[in-house]
Symmetry: C2
Subunit: 81 residues, 2 copies
Amino acid sequence: MEEKVMYIGMVCELTGLSERQIRYYEERKLVFPVRTKGGVRKYSFEDVDNIREINRNIKDGFRTFELKGMLNKRLHGRGQA
Amino acid sequence: MEEKVMYIGMVCELTGLSERQIRYYEERKLVFPVRTKGGVRKYSFEDVDNIREINRNIKDGFRTFELKGMLNKRLHGRGQA
DNA sequence: CGTGTAAGGAATTCTGACACG
DNA sequence: CGTGTAAGGAATTCTGACACG
């Protein structure tokens, strides 16, 4: 399901992270939610998985800019993680 | 995906129906969203499908109480629609 | 019966900033 | 750097009611 259907509150529930963390990952160009006409962020289950992985990597000592590099490689490579 | 993750606004977008219609189907015991601590309804993709079917049946001339009967039969029968 | 709407309140989310280290 | 928080505003949703037919 890559449909962007849930708000940040649900993402917090599903991941256990804070709104601040999730918005920060977006600021660092690691997650790309779409917006409601009113400006509210909408996420997909795929986004939730990515967010989980991002947080895991950060806990493992990676920096967001490093994760960004990894993300770009994936997008230019041949598939998933 | 039977996780209740989206708000009524998203259900409206996905189904093309009004909030009024969706809440009414709930009032008639045809849909069962869960609630946020604050009282906000949360729906699953399965709910969205059910809502679409309910509306289709209503357009075909069925009454909500008839659909309720059909729903009960399904739940007591041996599976899906 | 099934759905539209105006009404006021409550819950949720948004942005920008200050803080720590 | 990554995250917490208080602040004020804006978007979204909620309920109960009146309306039509």
